[in-house]
Symmetry: C2
Subunit: 216 residues, 2 copies
Amino acid sequence: MAVTEAQPGNERVRGGGKARERILEAAYDLFAHRGIQAVGIDAIIAHSGVARQTLYRHFSSKQALVLAFLERREELWTKDWLQSEVKQRSADPEQRLLAVFDVFDGWFRSPGFEGCSFINVMLEITDPADPIHRAGTSYLVKIRDFLEDLARSAGIADADNFARQWHILMKGSIVAAAEGDQDAALRAQQIATIALRDAKRLEPWSRPLLGKPSPH
Amino acid sequence: MAVTEAQPGNERVRGGGKARERILEAAYDLFAHRGIQAVGIDAIIAHSGVARQTLYRHFSSKQALVLAFLERREELWTKDWLQSEVKQRSADPEQRLLAVFDVFDGWFRSPGFEGCSFINVMLEITDPADPIHRAGTSYLVKIRDFLEDLARSAGIADADNFARQWHILMKGSIVAAAEGDQDAALRAQQIATIALRDAKRLEPWSRPLLGKPSPH
DNA sequence: AACGAATCAGACTGATCGTTCTCCCTCCGT
DNA sequence: ACGGAGGGAGAACGATCAGTCTGATTCGTT
């Protein structure tokens, strides 16, 4: 937090908004839709209407700007959109898990579908030691943590494995949507439904009932 | 076919193989592991040990070289490896479908795991009109066609939807493996198993028995 | 021996990359 | 009124990009 001491009544007049905000908005749109390597600093400058030096005053390098983009992506996409929408659609953890694909369905059919920036960045920057690659994977882990919490709340035994499986369905459907399959979310949800049923059916002893009937 | 009139005893001596072959081998390794945009012509020249002009004699542009790489990728990865391995492990279409993830399991645990170049290229070149993007998606369609044939042979009713679902599991597991989950193939296979059981159980009327019990 | 085609080696072009620098203007707090 | 900071416009940097050109060398074939 604390975007360089942002107290009220501090905004620059030129251009309607603060320069840093305009830069991040332009970077967000461009990086999300065209990827990292295909977007140059010049394109971000042009789209934000900001001076060259102003960009480098707020972000020390392109890498810093990319990392800031990913941070904002988690804020806007993961938290404010995906998790928020899922929680809003149901209070039941099982229904929330399935709601992920309802939310995805609307996403896949939206005109400006951009795919998952975390996946894109991780696959685009192949070096595992690169901070950008590491950031992409770490934000994917946070999504998986959200799924794991839901699975645990739903009384699923191996919540880790289940969350990873659910995430595989999510990521696979996103790639399929990028290929052009607008029904990818529904197809994934079909499998997810029977996977969830199976996870609940195979290990009913794991659900909290009375005591703990666990082995020995 | 016909790599510029390749009759026996025609090979250039310098470097052990024909120049075109060395270029394609270098491009294959570099593009598959580092992506398209991150690999420059200079890197391919250096790794192939070929002269600059020699490369442009065989490939008119970088785009042409990328398209040749994808074509070879389908030959080596899709046909000679994936489909060949799957067919070798079983003759039963259902077992062949499941064997995909056995093959993937070995792939995910191999040291130089490079991911799926068709997915990578499609996500890296976001413009759907770009020939490279189109090539990537078209080779993914061919993989799906292979799955659809297996599904049809297995007597699954909606083979198209089933193949797309299977492909979602495959692509999702590949992305998960790129994140570092070496057990991604096993996780996907667990879901695939119950999905296959469900597809066979829900529509037993669709299997060829005696006559055709189809509606009206 | 001689020829042409293929390859090699490297300079070179123009464009673009990320980044730095300079100069000027405008604002805000004092 | 003044100073300093933030921003705008643009030149310029060195590096790299894809692609072209030249000239010498080596090959297979005759």
